[in-house]
Amino acid sequence: MTDILQLNDLENEAIFIMREVAAQFDRPVLLFSGGKDSITLVRLAQKAFYPAKIPFPLMHIDTGHNFPETIAFRDKLVAELGLELIVRNVQDSIDQGKVKEESGRYSSRNMLQTTTLLDAIEEFKFDACIGGARRDEEKARAKERIFSVRDDFGQWDEKNQRPELFDMLNGEIDLGQNVRVFPISNWTELDVWSYIENEDLEIPSIYFSHKRPTFVRDGMIWSAADCVYRDAEEAVEERIVRFRTVGDMSCTAAVASHAETISQVVAEIRDSSISERGARIDDKRSEAAMEKRKQQGYF
C-alpha cells in the first residue's frame, strides 16, 4: 500500500467532472474519435468509476474518410475494454439528402458531421455528450465552459453562457437541450501527451512516424488518399510523416517527423513551434472558423 496519493490537479479535476456527468444526467455518451484526446477520456472514465464499468456508451461519428488505422484501433479498444460503441455515419446523412457532399479543392466532410451528430443525439435522447475539446486548442474554445449548454438545435450561445464557479457544475437543462461536457478543458496538448506516456496508453499508429504517399499544397503535407481531392499537377511522393491530430483525412495535415515512440513524440511537441491546430486545414478557412462551426452545433 502506498502511503500518500500524489496529486495531479488536471487528472483529479477531470475525474470529478466525469463523475458529475454520471450523477447529473440520465443518458450521457462519450464522443469518441479514436484520437489521443478521446483515448485519454476513456482512461479517465475508467479511473472515475473503477471497479464499476464505465456507465455510458461511446459514440463515433464516422465521416467515412477516417484513417483506416484509427478505425482498427477503435474496434480493438472497445473489444478489449468491453465497452458499448455506437457508430453513426455521415454517408447515411448524405444518402438521406440531409447534407450535400462538398466539392472542389478543399472539400471535406468535416462540416457535415454536425448534422449526423445532432441526429444521433436526438435518436438516442442523449442529454450529455462528453468531448475531448481543450481550451488551449483554439481561441473560441478558450471561452468554452466545462458544462456547455446546447439548445434544441444543438446551438451554442456564446454570449449567454452560465458562469462556472469553484467546482460547482450546473447541469440543469430543459427537455430537448443537451450539455456538451469537456473534462480536459484545462489540459494542453503537452499535458495530454505526457499523460499518455505516464499511463502507457495505446494510440493509433498514425501518431508515430511512418511512410505514406503524400502531396504538398499551401505548404502543408496532405495524404494522397482517394477521398482527398488532388490536382493533376500535385505530385504524390512517399514521405516520412506522422499526424498530430486525428481528424478526417481530408482536413488533417501531416508533419515531417521521425518520432517513433511516445517519448520522442513528447520531446517533439515540447520543441515544436507550430500549434496543433496549425495542421488543421478546416481552421484556416477564416479567423472565426471554429466559432462559426461551434454555433452550429459542432463538437
Partner: protein, 416 residues
C-alpha cells in the same frame, strides 16, 4: 504537474490583453503560426507594433469592439510549472465575470494605467479579490513608458493603492507592486534598464516565486459524495465505494468519520484511486473510499472526521454576487447548489447592498440586480452542512439556480 491559476482584471484600455500577449511572447509560449496570425492582423490594421490583444480576444464581437467580454483561459508553462490565466473584463457590467474568474484562481494581477493611477475600476477589482479571498495580489503598474519610467509616479500610485488596502479586511493576503510596460516588454519577463530604480523581481519572476498551494482549501477535511459505486460483479460483489473529491485536509485509512446528514459513525477502510489502494488521500484528490460499516450513503451526503462537524442549518446568510438579468427579490425561490447538494432556497431578507468601492453599504434595498453584491438570508427546505467562506473556500460557497431558466443566477459566500 503543478498548476498556478491566475485571474487578471483591468479596465478596457489598461493593456491587459497586451500584457498576456507579452508574457506568451517573451516566454516563447506563442507558436509560429499564432505569431504569424498576429503579425498579419496587426499589419492589416495599420499598426507599427504587434497587437498581442489579438491573441486573447477570441470571440468575433470582442475582436470587432476591441474589448474582452467573457472569461478567456490562456495556458502557458515554464520549466517550473503550468500557468492558467483567467482573463476577465474590467467593466462594471462584467463584475460577475470577474467573480467567476477569481473563484478558481490562487493569484490575481490587477493592472493600473500609470497615467491614470487608481481609478474606480481598480477599487472594484481589488474588492472582488478581497471578497474571494485571493491570497496573492500583484499590482502591475503598466504603461510606465508613457510616464517616462518615473519612480515618483510609481510611488504615488503605490500609495494610492495602499489606502485601498487599509479599507479591506482580509489579513492573509500578500500584495506586490511591479512597474511594467507590456507593450515594450519592460519588466514583464525581462528586467528593464529603463526601470533601474526598481530593485524587485520582474512580473514573471515574481509569479514563479508564488506558492501554488491553494491555501484556501486548507481547513477541515470535507468529502462530498458524488456517487456510490456498486459494481455488483463477481470480483466486487459486496463493494460499496463512495466517490468524491477530498477538500480541506488529508483523509487517511483508519480515520474515524461521520456521514452527514445521518451522523452515522464509521471508519475509513480503504482509499482507492483507480485500481490501487493508498494509505492517505491528499487534498483535491478524486478518490473512492470504503467504510468498515454498512452505512446508508447517497449522493450529496458528506463524509467528515468525527470531531470536525461543520455547521448544519436550514438557514444561511451569505454575501451574494448576482449574475442574472432577473432580479433577486424577497420571497423568490431558487435551487441552491452547495457543492453537490441541491436544496430549495427562499429569499428571506435582503440586509444591504455592498458598494464595490469600499464606500460602505446601502440599506433598505428591495431588490438585487445583475452585478450587485448584497448580504442576503435564505430559508432552506433541507439543512446543508457548511463552513463559512472564511473557514473553507469550497464548502463555504454555493450557487443559486433560477428554476425557470436553469441559469446560474448568483453565487453566495457564506457569512454565517
Amino acid at each position: 504537474m503543478e498548476v498556478l491559476k491566475i485571474a487578471t482584471a483591468g479596465s478596457v484600455d489598461d493593456g491587459k490583453s497586451t500584457l498576456i500577449g507579452r508574457i506568451l511572447y517573451d516566454t516563447k509560449s506563442m507558436t509560429d503560426d499564432k505569431l504569424e496570425a498576429i503579425e498579419r492582423s496587426s499589419k492589416l490594421k495599420g499598426y507599427d507594433y504587434l497587437d498581442f490583444s489579438l491573441a486573447t480576444d477570441g470571440l468575433v464581437a470582442e475582436r470587432e469592439q476591441g474589448i474582452t467580454i467573457d472569461v478567456a483561459h490562456i495556458y502557458f508553462s515554464t520549466a517550473k510549472r503550468s500557468y492558467i490565466i483567467a482573463d476577465t473584463p474590467g467593466h462594471i457590467e462584467y463584475t460577475r465575470n470577474m467573480v467567476t474568474g477569481a473563484s478558481t484562481s490562487q493569484a490575481a494581477i490587477i493592472l493600473i494605467d500609470a497615467r491614470h493611477g487608481v481609478i474606480e475600476q481598480t477599487y472594484r477589482h481589488f474588492f472582488i479579490n478581497n471578497l474571494l479571498r485571493v491570497k496573492d495580489v500583484v499590482v502591475a503598474v503598466n504603461k510606465m513608458d508613457l510616464v517616462d519610467f518615473s519612480e515618483e509616479r510609481f510611488n504615488e500610485i503605490k500609495a494610492e493603492f495602499e489606502k485601498l488596502v487599509e479599507k479591506s479586511n482580509f489579513e492573509g493576503r500578500q500584495i506586490s507592486y511591479i512597474p511594467v510596460s507590456a507593450l515594450k516588454g519592460d519588466n514583464v519577463v525581462f528586467k528593464s534598464t529603463n526601470l533601474d530604480w526598481y530593485k524587485g523581481a520582474t512580473l514573471m519572476d515574481h509569479l514563479e516565486s508564488l506558492d501554488a498551494e491553494d491555501v484556501y482549501n486548507n481547513g477541515k477535511m470535507r468529502l462530498p459524495v458524488q456517487l456510490v459505486i456498486r459494481p455488483k460483479t463477481e470480483d466486487f460483489h459486496d463493494f460499496r465505494g463512495y466517490a468524491g473529491k477530498v477538500y480541506g485536509a488529508d483523509l487517511s485509512v483508519g480515520d474515524a468519520v461521520l456521514v452527514l446528514p445521518s451522523k452515522t459513525r464509521s471508519t475509513v477502510k480503504d482509499i482507492f484511486f483507480y485500481d490501487k489502494k493508498y494509505g492517505k488521500a491528499g487534498r483535491q484528490s478524486s478518490v473512492t473510499v470504503t467504510l468498515t460499516d454498512n452505512v446508508n450513503v447517497s449522493r450529496g451526503d458528506m463524509i467528515v472526521k468525527v470531531d470536525e462537524i461543520p455547521h448544519i442549518a436550514k438557514q444561511v446568510t451569505a454575501t451574494v454576487s448576482w449574475m442574472d438579468a432577473e432580479k433577486l427579490v424577497p420571497g423568490a425561490k431558487y435551487l441552491l447548489q452547495h457543492g453537490l447538494h441541491k436544496v430549495l432556497a427562499k429569499v428571506q431578507t435582503i440586509h444591504h447592498k455592498i458598494a464595490t468601492d469600499f464606500s460602505g453599504v446601502e440599506t433598505g434595498v428591495t431588490e438585487v440586480s445583475m452585478n450587485d453584491i448584497a448580504s442576503v438570508t435564505f430559508q432552506l427546505n433541507k439543512a446543508i452542512f457548511f463552513d463559512t467562506f472564511e473557514e473553507n473556500r469550497t464548502n463555504g460557497a454555493f450557487i443559486l439556480i433560477d428554476q425557470q431558466s436553469n441559469h446560474t443566477a448568483g453565487v453566495g459566500f457564506i457569512e454565517a
